[in-house]
Symmetry: C2
Subunit: 343 residues, 2 copies
């Protein structure tokens, strides 16, 4: 089959690789109907050390079940399914607590014997615990929204949920990438009435407004902080959804969070140490968030996506075929595209 | 009157200072019946830069109301009252949310025109918002327990509460100082059934066991982490109550917190930057805590102290008179005394 392999910074290729096959009785093989490129794929695209063998990439996909192992009971051939961005057994203690990203038998796509999502098909370990069945559809928009459950909408929801967003809390979302916009939508869904979106790309912040942002703050750093404080009587917002992952974004978040408030991070931190000294302590600010257990959230979010009430798939602004994936990376890295769907 | 003044590291004196007087109609004058020395007083005692004028010190006290300003309505002459370790109006937005430490009209003891607690009397600003009336008693043990509401028991409770301790959560308490032991008691009070106390001073950890610790871990650093992991099937505990404030204590806390768990800090951080990078993020660990809004917790905790159900005053293992305060500092700094009561 054809699948995407990354060999180093800037070097993504679509190649012929071995077809996946069942290795364990708990496996399924899924042929990919939709996949996409993630903001987090851009980190290795920017900085991965050159590798002779390369590695498979892509962790968001939905598709049709082609084959299942003997122990798989919840999905079968022909089912349309979505996979969260990590696999999990859905039965261990962590999964039962809703923390599928810490599953005792879980793991990542694009690792040994486990295909990446940006390809024609994927061997799915722990199929019962991982895959969630979807109503069949050929509607492109609905398929796009389905696909966001795999990562980006679930991640935005994780950010808003762990931050404790509700109808009484003010919200700042940092970042106008697909996760930031998804976090706006998630905050709106949880009832937030005042959502500041910090971002400077107008096409993106326009979608942010459509998703529920009440104010857009284009300024960054100290100026951005001053602007949010000015809009909140000098207090900042109860919750901050940090959807970038850089240290300046985190620091800006600390500058706009209200005393007693919560900053939740869902952008993978690109720093080891952060400013969590006495200033933070005196203000009783909570730092939370992390890798989103998408599997835990999919059933709940799917209901609202099926309703048509929320259309998180609008974050995709470009659709390409599998062979064009390298061009998709380039477009996202150059900020020509917000998020690229692979059909 | 006589009061304590600190002039620099190791230089604490009891001196004659001006008697406090009412400056605002919202003030009260309280004559101090009991005060004490806090672990946090030991930071300036260890490192304060020499000052010619010195500054007043002490932030935990209870006493009798001697005089009140015209606007004070909730306490009157002769009332026995406890003061939390910061003053507050109890009416602003932050106070209404229970975050009295961020009060818009609040402040610290031992600052301009506001006496420190380690003296004969104190001018109390915002008396209605700050002071909590106590049933009169001459019982030394009950007075000692009352006094812990001012800071140490309320701080332990803040730590346990913000960490989310309940009957389903395992707990690690880091530090066998008075706050650490109070945190053990607070965790027990909130229903925790498994409480690991990390500390190495047996007289203190014995009191920790009496307060509810189920296991004592004397090892520190990597060995301490290994021990707690061994006792928790390699997972760590759901909550970590970090009651020291040093970076090694914080790092040890991160080593013993379970994925999806919460580390709460109530020891003032003696560091500016901390390790909150990808490792923490991948495990969805929450960092919370801060300066405890004692005023918010006093009414609730007082009920259980009056009951005799909890005796947090047991953290005091030495009682001295006001003139002996300098010796009290020395004894606490040298770890001869756990916490010194001033009578």
């Amino acid at each position: 089959m054809r699948a995407t392999v990354i060999y180093g910074a800037g070097d993504v290729r679509v190649e012929t690789v071995p077809d996946p096959k069942l290795l364990e009785p708990t496996d399924a093989i899924v042929s990919v109907v939709r996949s996409c490129i993630c903001g987090s794929d851009l980190w290795p695209y920017a900085s991965m050390k050159r590798s002779e063998r390369g590695r498979r990439i892509g962790h968001e996909f939905l598709g049709l079940v082609e084959e299942t192992g003997a122990d798989v009971t919840t999905v079968g051939k022909g089912d349309l399914v979505v996979a969260p961005f990590v696999f999990s057994d859905n039965t261990c203690q962590y999964c039962q607590e809703g923390l599928h990203t810490s599953c005792e038998h879980g793991g990542n796509w694009g690792t040994k014997d486990v295909d990446g999502g940006q390809g024609e098909a994927v061997r799915v370990p722990q199929a019962d615990g991982t895959l969630v069945k979807l109503p069949h559809t050929e509607d492109d928009d609905l398929l796009a929204s389905y696909l966001t459950l795999s990562d980006v909408f679930s991640t935005g929801h994780h950010c808003a949920t762990t931050a404790g967003v509700n109808e009484r809390k003010t919200v700042t979302v940092i970042g106008d990438g697909a996760v930031g916009l998804s976090a706006v939508l998630a905050a709106k869904r949880l009832g937030a009435e005042q959502i500041f979106l910090m971002g400077r790309h107008q096409a993106r912040t326009d979608l942010g407004r459509e998703f529920g942002a009440t104010d857009v703050v284009a300024e960054r750093g100290e100026e951005g902080i001053a602007k949010v404080l000015e809009l909140t009587s000098g207090q900042g917002t109860h919750t901050v959804l940090e959807c970038v992952g850089t240290k300046p974004a985190f620091e800006m978040g600390l500058g706009v969070v209200r005393a007693g408030g919560t900053l939740s991070r869902v952008g993978v931190p690109q720093y080891e140490e952060g400013p969590i000294g006495p200033a933070l302590f005196r203000r009783n600010v909570t730092i939370t968030g992390g890798v989103a257990p998408a599997r835990h959230y999919i059933p709940e979010l799917l209901v609202d996506v099926l309703d048509g009430k929320y259309q998180p798939g609008k974050v995709f602004d470009r659709t390409i075929g599998l062979e064009a994936v390298p061009e998709g990376y380039r477009a996202m890295a150059d900020r020509e595209a917000l998020k690229v769907l692979v059909k």
